[in-house]
């Protein structure tokens, strides 16, 4: 679907749901589409989805939803093979899209972890970093979130079924938070909410519960499958956290080094505060 002039998909597309290093939560989000599962089954041909069915058919696939990050040597040939077998490759979730929470290892010594956890660390084959799928193969679309939003996934599917380029909004969480009528938790409660610099898509779940957003949908306007928008102004927000909410540098590092800590805008902000 990377070309713009492709005519609509008329047949049921063959869909694969593939997993790398991840917790399976995003795949579960697909299975949680309870009301729509029957219609979904009629609209698409689920050819490969081990989490849901033991009938695992080989490629090629029209659409592949990819969960998880690249953390082991054997992941590399597997993701290349998948790319070759797939027309439209869509990453689902923070792990596949940004490296995920396990990318915190990128700041640490993986060998030390292995020694601490396993009695025989020499048998553990693990890369020193956790990296997003887009660092290894071309990704057509990205669905962010930990986990993804199932309605957003449905929207992408209905677009693809019609032959339309999916439009995945990338403005800040705040717009949808206010559309839903939530009071700003940053302004009214002084919580260090990352909503202003975080990409929309979750439905403003945390603010709707009176909690501050912790950025699980990644940086606003950031997308490795599309030309970038305005990099989110993390520096200005962090300054506000520091001066008015009295967050100290180490708290700021933790704030930005979370589920999407290895994505450039968040990574740079955490680095900036690490040296303060």
């Amino acid at each position: 679907m990377s070309e713009s002039n492709k005519s609509p998909i008329r047949k049921r597309p063959r869909v694969a749901v593939v997993k790398f290093a991840s917790c399976d939560g995003c795949q579960l989000s697909i299975l949680n589409l309870e009301d729509d599962l029957l219609a979904l089954g009629a609209a698409i041909d689920i050819a490969y989805f081990p989490e849901a069915s033991s009938d695992m058919q080989a490629g090629p696939y029209d659409i592949a939803f990819v969960e998880g990050s690249i953390t082991c040597p054997e992941d590399l040939p597997r993701v290349l093979e998948l790319r070759q077998q797939t027309t439209t490759l869509i990453t689902i979730g923070a792990c596949a899209t940004s490296g995920g929470i396990q990318a915190l290892r990128n700041w640490s010594d993986i060998e030390a972890f292995k020694r601490a956890v396993y009695p025989n660390p020499e048998y553990i084959q693990s890369l020193s970093t956790s990296t997003p799928i887009s660092e290894h193969v071309t990704v057509d679309y990205e669905l962010w979130g930990c986990p993804i939003d199932k309605q957003q996934l449905l929207g992408v599917l209905t677009d693809l079924l019609q032959g339309v380029k999916p439009h995945i909004p990338r403005h800040s969480v705040c717009l949808d938070c206010k559309r839903q009528g939530h009071v700003c938790v940053l302004v009214a409660k002084g919580l260090p909410c990352l909503g202003p610099v975080t990409r929309t898509g979750c439905g403003a779940i945390c603010p709707s519960m009176g909690r501050d957003c912790y950025g699980c949908f990644g940086p606003a306007e950031h997308d490795s499958a599309r030309p970038p928008g305005v990099p989110p102004n993390t520096a200005s927000l962090a300054q506000q956290f520091h001066q008015h909410l009295q967050l100290i540098p180490v708290e700021m590092v933790r704030r930005f080094r979370g589920i999407n800590g290895s994505v450039q805008p968040f990574q740079e902000e955490s680095h900036a505060w690490e040296s303060k």
Binding site: T158, Q162, C174, Q180, V183, V187, A188, P232
Partner: protein, 373 residues
């Protein structure tokens, strides 16, 4: 719809102990009543059924980037000036399905969805909010294409204003000449004191309600006293927006270095546009069912701070935060005057208080009016 020129009764005094009469009368006349109710650390428009629903014992403190509720011993119902919501969400819904389209035999049919039109009384409307509503009326009702969804909601409103006797650090309605006293557009207006209210009707509908209440003619002294309290509220406002030379000054400031300065702070997060009583940008979302037999055509609030607002096939006319902030401020304070004959700002100060980093448009305008250093 409200109109401000039907005052036939002299100002009346309405006792606090009789306040429940107002709620009962509105109910008898078939209105659902919304008022300021404590919610999520602020106030929001929610159903009011008894006087206990009001946020008595609380007041708000607003500063750039900060809104806090504090305990307050005052017995008043309307001690909290305002929350993040103006009247906007009640007339111009944040999310509203306009049409449902059904696919049938190689074609389709479109059906419009009627908005909820329960007659609604709103208790505690501030002068700035009435001014904002007046501006939105002009946009949605008085153009070439009146918006039927807005119109139906608007026609069912009964507006009870409360004149402000307390201003925040963020308020500047006096300089915009929209407050602190509600001038027009209300059905009833109240000025609250500890023991009683001055009450006045602004429309025939309002008069009808006022007739049902136990009230007496207010003394000259009392009226003067309230005028003074309102005047003191105006005088206490520290912020202001210079009106002089405004459309031209901002158009001419297009290349002013101050835009870079504000862009370094601005988050492009859209909060200022969401809380603004007059911002009207919206987009349309299309949501088909999975079997493509039905599709919903839904209007949602949009903002000039999103990456898609200025985008048209391959080109973004406003790619940077600087472009977006300049678009917002120039539109609000300059282009608006050319478009609608009035400023798009009513001086409510919400964009200052609810900006996560406390950007203050009055300060920006001040800086932009100075020649670049």
């Amino acid at each position: 719809m409200s109109s401000g020129s039907v005052q036939t009764l002299p100002l009346q005094l309405f006792l606090r102990e009789d306040f429940p009469q107002l709620l009962q009368t509105l109910k008898q006349l078939g209105y659902q009543t919304l008022g300021p109710v404590l919610s999520q650390g602020a106030i929001q428009w929610k159903a009011i059924t008894t006087p206990e629903d009001f946020p008595i014992d609380w007041k708000d403190q607003q500063e750039p980037g900060s809104y806090r509720l504090e305990p307050d011993p005052s017995p008043r119902y309307f001690n909290i000036v305002h929350g993040p919501e103006s009247l906007k969400p009640l007339t111009f819904a944040p999310r509203e399905t306009l049409l449902v389209l059904d696919h049938q035999n190689n074609t389709f049919s479109a059906k419009d969805i009627q908005p909820d039109t329960t007659p609604t009384a709103i208790l505690g409307v501030r002068a700035c909010d009435l001014a904002g509503l007046g501006i939105q009326d002009q946009i949605f009702l008085h153009g070439t294409y009146p918006d039927p969804y807005y119109q139906q909601r608007r026609e069912n409103l009964f507006l009870i204003a409360v004149n402000c006797t307390r201003a925040h650090a963020t308020c500047f309605c006096a300089s915009m000449e929209t407050g602190p006293k509600a001038q027009q557009g209300f059905d009833l207006s109240l000025t609250e004191a500890d023991e009683d209210f001055l009450i006045e009707a602004g429309s025939v509908k309002g008069l009808k309600v006022l007739d049902q209440l136990t009230s007496s003619i207010a003394s000259e002294e009392r009226i003067k006293e309230d005028e003074e309290r309102i005047g003191a509220c105006a005088a206490s406002q520290t912020r202001s927006l210079p009106k002089a030379n405004l459309p031209a000054a901002l158009y001419e400031a297009h290349d002013h270095p101050r835009w870079d300065h504000v862009a370094a702070r601005c988050l492009s997060c859209t909060n200022c546009t969401m809380v603004c009583p007059t911002c009207f940008c919206h987009g349309v979302e299309e949501t088909p069912s999975l079997d493509f037999q039905q599709s919903e055509h839904t209007r949602v609030w949009d903002s000039c701070f999103t990456p898609d607002h200025g985008y048209i096939h391959g080109k973004n006319f406003r790619p940077t935060t600087k472009d977006r902030y300049r678009m917002w401020l120039t539109h609000k304070l300059a282009a608006w005057i050319d478009q609608f004959g009035t400023s798009g700002c009513v001086g409510c100060g919400r964009c200052i208080a609810w900006c996560p980093v406390g950007i203050d448009l009055t300060e920006e305008v001040q800086a932009l009016s100075q020649p670049p250093l």
